[in-house]
Symmetry: C2
Subunit: 275 residues, 2 copies
Amino acid sequence: MKEKNNHISQNGSIGVFDSGVGGLTVLREIARALPNEDCVYLGDTARLPYGNKSRDTVTKFALKNSSFLVSLGIKFLVIACNTAASAGLDAVKESFDVPTTGVIKPEARRAATATRNGKVGVIGTRSTIASGAYELAIHQHDSGITVHSRPCPLFVPLAEEGWFEEDVTRLVAERYLMDLINEGIDTLVLGCTHYPLLKKVITETVGRDVALVDSAVPIAREVKDTLKSMGMLRDVNRRRRLTYYVTDDPKIFTQVGESFLGFPLDDVRHVDIAV
Amino acid sequence: MKEKNNHISQNGSIGVFDSGVGGLTVLREIARALPNEDCVYLGDTARLPYGNKSRDTVTKFALKNSSFLVSLGIKFLVIACNTAASAGLDAVKESFDVPTTGVIKPEARRAATATRNGKVGVIGTRSTIASGAYELAIHQHDSGITVHSRPCPLFVPLAEEGWFEEDVTRLVAERYLMDLINEGIDTLVLGCTHYPLLKKVITETVGRDVALVDSAVPIAREVKDTLKSMGMLRDVNRRRRLTYYVTDDPKIFTQVGESFLGFPLDDVRHVDIAV
């Protein structure tokens, strides 16, 4: 049964959640595309990462995170974590009345449009790749596209270690991406919000002729288009608020998040939904 | 206030928890040292890893895990995760009546005895190293020992990827361990239950003259000695049971755990305490 929310208001915030800091890249693009909108971000930093965990567990986490954001009176919900979107988007849509979208479909559409030779590579966490969600979404646009997928579990810890351009990262990238290169892909979906941090090494490994597609810009456009078509864009021109909640220590998140995004994170609060 | 447990029985199990599969190396040694004892293991696989998380959050996880094991009627509790032991051992001891011990102190004692030149290295997760728990425990034995510590966050994901002897792992090990080598350590504590999987590369990096100390054997001896001194060893010679609980999918744990330990894991059950 759906948790009813009869108070969806044009002045409500856009709610965004991710397992950790990765979804901040998505938040940043949404905030850029919609400069009048309040946004509230939840990072489930106490239970991250989601990428090696089972579909059932990740779906439960996604429902818990959504329930918290819905309780704040959001008008729109964005699942900014690819693993959570691949496992839990349908369950979240069934459980809550708030209009919801997730990463995966928007960038799948972009990849389907971008490829010229019909060979698309997809990299992501173990769980995202095992779900087959990208393959399905790309084939919904063009069933003739061949999709080559590869889980890259070490990319997240390498990004979190800050080793963006190290020899180690190059070696790992070569090992993970060699098969995709040999398949002749001309488009590569970065199917995890951390991977754009490794864009330089990934580009050098696959070559500049391969188009990289990440989640942030496509999902931000989708959020803007959907709110517009629903007549739910806020029309007041005023200073908007960005609020952050995390399930682990706000200090760690603020520190990592700021180095991740390159701008200050004010107003990071703790919420106790992970224990 | 302590959760009272009036049913501590000589026939109760030994409870062991870790964030994931790592503590199975500890369980294996306890099971070897005490072949008549039932053991019950909990891996908090839905919320792992603990290593980058705050002391408060890890302490809450440790209390939740302990509460579950205590509810099963265990006679002794072992915190097999270095991060959880460094953050939560005191809180767990205060909260439950069941005799409790954790990794860190036993291997600190061994390291203090093993060093000949008084220079001990300690590697572990960010959280374990930041806690200073090893330094404190080593100095309780010999305040003249110099302790050089280094967090090695990529060792866990490398071990979980199964890259035990890869060039990547060698490069990472050189980078992490170079400073400790330059300090002239003659003893190195592997302060995380995953690190013994990388023993070959670590030995090659630091050299065969550096003694490696891990948690499993020292803690198993401590458990045996304590139960013996308490008169709580079971004296019945019968087939014992090893039972496993995990907070994520039992299938993933069974698969990873078996490849980790090299022996089959029967009777792995799911318990829903992480959502």
